[in-house]
Symmetry: C2
Subunit: 246 residues, 2 copies
């Protein structure tokens, strides 16, 4: 093999999860020659002749899948938010990361062009090829190091996983008194609009921010243990952060 190319045209995707499905869908629509295979299937030589091999399997499975590879020309990337790029270094000359920063499920349609693509590469040439590909798929391509990707993942846990749990509690509390969750949607929308335009810490509101001890106590008295613990901790952190910023 001694192939050189100035543009990625053929792509093999290894994996059967949501990310594999999403990349297959958008790349096929954009006219690329895509070959999507299961990691459990024997990966054939012809599968590894594509310009780009995308490993879209679970974090734990990546190393095992790529352990058999010795790619000279094809670019090898994984799509993980948490794994180092360097876990690919023994499997290819040219490698990188092609990570879509979005919660992806087949059930919920997303506009791919608005998904931030976090790209990292083992060398300049590979980075250029990957970001040219990225720019054909999304309006938002970022150069992100493995170190930065870890920080993004932590931030996403706070901004997505943890907020989701709090929204769950809000719904649960409302339903105790037969109030539809929808009643909070305009407030939630406004919360999001505000944090997009301001530092969230600067526009904090509520009983903790006001230091309204009576209200905080009356709220805690109405909550069950788990929710009370969360209420106490987060109120305390809001008060503390507010003092730090003053």
């Amino acid at each position: 093999m001694n192939k050189d190319f100035s543009e990625i045209q053929s792509i093999t995707i290894v994996g059967q999860g949501n990310v594999a499905w999403l990349y297959n869908d958008i790349m096929t629509k954009q006219g690329f020659a895509v070959n999507c295979i299961s990691s459990r299937k024997e990966i054939g030589k012809e599968d590894l002749e594509a310009d780009l091999i995308i490993i879209a399997v679970s974090d734990k499975a990546i190393e095992e899948v790529v352990s058999k590879f010795k790619l000279e020309n094809s670019i090898l990337v994984h799509t993980s938010g948490t794994m180092d790029m360097d876990i690919l270094r023994n499997s290819a000359e040219n490698y990188g990361v092609f990570y879509p920063l979005q919660t992806i499920s087949k059930a919920i349609e997303v506009d791919f062009s608005s998904i931030p693509l976090c790209i990292e590469a083992s060398n300049e040439k590979t980075f250029t090829l990957l970001s040219n590909l990225g720019n054909k798929l999304s309006k938002k391509v970022y150069k992100i190091s493995s170190e930065q990707r870890k920080e993004i993942h932590i931030a996403a846990v706070f901004a997505n996983n943890f907020t989701n749990h709090l929204f769950g509690i809000a719904k649960q509390e409302l339903e105790k008194k037969d109030i539809p969750f929808e009643i909070l949607f305009p407030l939630i929308d406004q919360t999001i609009a505000k944090i997009k335009e301001n530092n969230p810490f600067d526009v904090q509101t509520g009983p903790a921010k006001r230091g309204d001890v009576l209200i905080m106590e009356s709220h805690q008295a109405r909550l069950e243990d788990d929710e009370r613990e969360i209420y106490k901790l987060l109120s305390g952190k809001i008060i503390k952060k507010d003092k730090e910023l003053k």
Copy 2:
């Protein structure tokens, strides 16, 4: 005074804060005769001859402001999310609550017609008059008891105040590594879209939900004390809730 009316036409608003300003703005635009006065000013007899007197002062000030009132025909309402309706019972024959469920500030424009109005009244006639007024201002009028209003306030603390703090932490973590907060906006938008269509607990994702101990430990090792405490507590609660639901 022996006035009876089938429709609210004239309104006095007492207060100078954001809610007073917002009601004054929308009610004037809708063609009502609105008189907006400061609670610190001597409230004159003529101010109390309006069909509706709206007390839009801070929670703590409501009782003092209304203590001088003895209204026979005018409807008296407060606009608080937390105070009982009954704090008005010695000040008027007909009283209630007219509470806009939104975080309101002069700096950020809101479409009033999408703000949920939570209405409660001391009798049927008053409720009808208030909800007719509400329907002229907003598409979303709810009959909400004082008890329900307290639950809404607690839910709003979780869905607005606490999530805001978590978004602040997400931004802070990203900025440590020079990553723009905007990179998370599509993920945040998707989080909100998902909770509007599903029970948030049913669509929980992330390391805690997956029971990915290694990732949770590596995240905690990178966080400062305050953020680590929040990470630990919320991850534990996600794991616990997930077990409860299985």
